[in-house]
Symmetry: C2
Subunit: 222 residues, 2 copies
Amino acid sequence: VSDTDASRTIEIHEALLGKNEALAERNRAMFRARGLTVINVLSSPGSGKTTFVQRTIADLKGRRRIGVIVGDLATDNDARRLRETGAPVVQIVTGTVCHLDAEMVARAAERVGLDDLDTLIVENVGNLVCPSAYDLGESLRVVLLSTTEGEDKPLKYPSMFQTADIVVVNKIDLAEAVEFDREAALRAISDVAPGAQVVVVSAKTGVGMEAWYACLEHRVGR
Amino acid sequence: VSDTDASRTIEIHEALLGKNEALAERNRAMFRARGLTVINVLSSPGSGKTTFVQRTIADLKGRRRIGVIVGDLATDNDARRLRETGAPVVQIVTGTVCHLDAEMVARAAERVGLDDLDTLIVENVGNLVCPSAYDLGESLRVVLLSTTEGEDKPLKYPSMFQTADIVVVNKIDLAEAVEFDREAALRAISDVAPGAQVVVVSAKTGVGMEAWYACLEHRVGR
């Protein structure tokens, strides 16, 4: 592989990102035309995305008609957990691909049955790096940070947190057990993502989730 | 971007992986010639890699002369923590790149001062997907799984766990707080990585670390 090939790789990568950008805009226009709120949920593996989405669906039952697209490298574990809520769920198996892209979401959206929905939650592949560069056409980007991961993660993975509309600090019920330094974490988030709103929750116990719902309604309206 | 471009991207990606493979073999030959044990440490962000490496260096003082190469997208937080151990530490800042590669490690190894070492620990970028495909020329690949991440992570990120020589279940001190199902986690690991040795530790409290050191000595000898 020559340097020419390497620079050609970067070129093609940028072209693919450009192509994704165009497809994301097409998704966005389609979602808007339907009056659909689309939420892209991102985090590390194991930060509690699935539990967060599960509780959101259960708590907003009667207020929002929610469908879910969930991406994983392998297994339908999360899809099965999410289907227990009664919401329609479409699984995308990415194989070795570390992120969802706009085209995958467009195809999955056709299968989820958008006519019956006003809200679509996309649970991305667990990864704090790759998915940040891929716009899916979402209305809102929500990045989760678990108290168990350490307060400095926003500083260490800035590209992800910089793109967040809302940062959800999750697993606050474990704060004491992991000696979580709340001030340090909030400082790290505001250093990297000064424009993001921050809510502190436990998706497991439900603490703080009302603030997330208020934040959601405020951002997207109805 | 045409389909031809897309397939050319895959072609070039495979060529780059092939190039990495060749450089990894060169690293491996160089490390072997020096009698150096090289340990590639991988996990999600926040699974406790840095604490694990810190305690390993401290506990093995007098038994192993350890140097560290640490990769991060941004910040030198981990490098600063690791330098407190007194070990030589070289930081690689990857920017937006989600993994270390053999060439980065070859360059960093020149700076770390291999003459004074018998062991080199490479703390990879926190990511359960991308780094698995990049051989660095290591003697041993160690993948951490934190009890806080959920028992099914090996099933959901199989490519990473399949490449592990040793799987370290970390943060066992939090097992009760997170209702960790040890049997389910061990079953998931052995389903995906039947050849890997498994040790269960708390790098924070030190519990189980002796089993890791025994495992290390057994695998690499001295």
